[in-house]
Amino acid sequence: MNIFVLLKQTFDTEERIIINNGEISDDGVKYVMNPYDEYAVEEALLQRDQHGGTITVVGVGPDRTAEALRTALAMGADEAVLIGNDGLTTDEYTVSRLLAAYLGQQSYDLILGGNFSVDSGGGQVAVRLAQLLDIPHTSSITKLAINGQQAVVDRDAEGDTETLEVSLPAVFTAQQGLNEPRYPSLPGIMKAKKKPFHRMSIGDLGLSDSDAAAKTKRISLSLPPKREAGRILQGDHAQQAAELVNLLRTEAKLI
């Protein structure tokens, strides 16, 4: 089975966001593999264990994205592809087009990705890709069982669980609960250094910069208003409870 995993590199979720000169500062920021993509990589490994095959992880992004791809190789993926976008303004439209141009030249049975990225969080790329490749997709899956050319998946739909039967090849995006992503082992990290790592440019994919032009643009950035610490209620718990309910009625006027 040929498995492809879509990867994005994101800020670590521990990071605070600082805006400098109208841009998000990446000074000293720690980057990680998008947490939802970890589930996708883990699922690819589990499926390969069962059905055999190879796993290729594919990322679109600046050069530093290589680090996240190497983490996936260290977890056990076989090959990595980095489609460089240095100097390009991309949005979900363009990223999905680049991925479709690459995958259109590959033979694939299963394409996995994260449900959304924890930075821009649009949740578009994988679903768009499925359409561009004209294959079915299910987003936000919490279970995947493959039998021949048929997959049975559970999809988390705002708390409800939908079970679908989907014919392969297909795109699935991983929701929390799909599995427990492993940590890269030391031997895994050593082995990853020798695994095939391909770098591609937009030109290599037969696309021009204008093909990859974004359809949306950011015009400004802001931070949420800072919250101030309020008051700690005094007295015993019964008094505190009564005061809180009273404050919600009289001060906040929400009850």
Partner: protein, 325 residues
Amino acid sequence: MGKTYVVVAEVRGGSLRQVTLEALQVVSIACQEGDSTAAVLIGSQTTKLASELADYVDGKIYSIDHPELEIYNPETYLNVMKSVFERVTPDVVVLGHTAQGRDLGPAIAAQLGAGQISDVIAIEKSDDDEAVYTRPLYAGKAFEQKQFTGGAQVVTIRPNNINPSEAAASAGEVIELDYAPSASLRSIVKDVVRKTSGKVDLTEAKIVVSGGRGVKSAEGFKPLEELADVLHGAVGASRAACDAGYCDYSMQIGQTGKVVTPEIYIACGISGAIQHLAGMSQSRVIIAINKDPEAPIFKVADYGIVGDLFEVVPLLTQEFRKVLV
């Protein structure tokens, strides 16, 4: 010629979701002189809902009613949208940023070769009368304002952030479209387990009672559920509680998980890690209950109670019951 806006309505539990009216409100703000609005209603037994929707849409309502459409399936719903687009060429498609809209929106965008701005929480007009959309980054640690650069547009809007539309001046015209079931579907919905029926949806709840590591066990969520019931709210959780196996991941609030913006957020036994704060700090009033007076959650809380949640929460439930019943 003016632009054509198409709102994809959403049905849940036999009623129109409020986010559909919020999407219509976005359209009425975005619209310029000469633009037109249409709505698409996909489902089973939609006749009554279509006429309900018509009160809010001064334009055509395409109603596609078939038993096979009762449950969302990315393939059948997209096929329906394609058939609608044969009759009306959309310039802008607006959906809810819901389980359905998050899935259908990008599929429509890819079909139209359109740009998409997802998870919109506010809309305003620029000086040249173009729509400017605000959306969160890093689950709300920052916000960006975005515009389209040209071509077709898809917008998904987060429930509960934009005021719902008022009824239109004149009711719209309902057009029933036939649905031809496809014999060669590549995805089939086999089963749906409604875990949420009868419960308030977490992302739409006006009040959220949330538990962290301090609830100590699955059983420990009981008092939180009782409080949420009294308040007609929903129960959420921190990542720590989910990872510890006390509750389902579908309850997780934070940068991974869901972002909630209720009127009242009651954090019980949650320390307030930055990932969690990203998912709830836009709530209107935050209440923190924690044994540790140094817990970071108190730095963002409007009201704090230092104490054991197992003692405090039942007392709160009792007090709320007094004033609400």
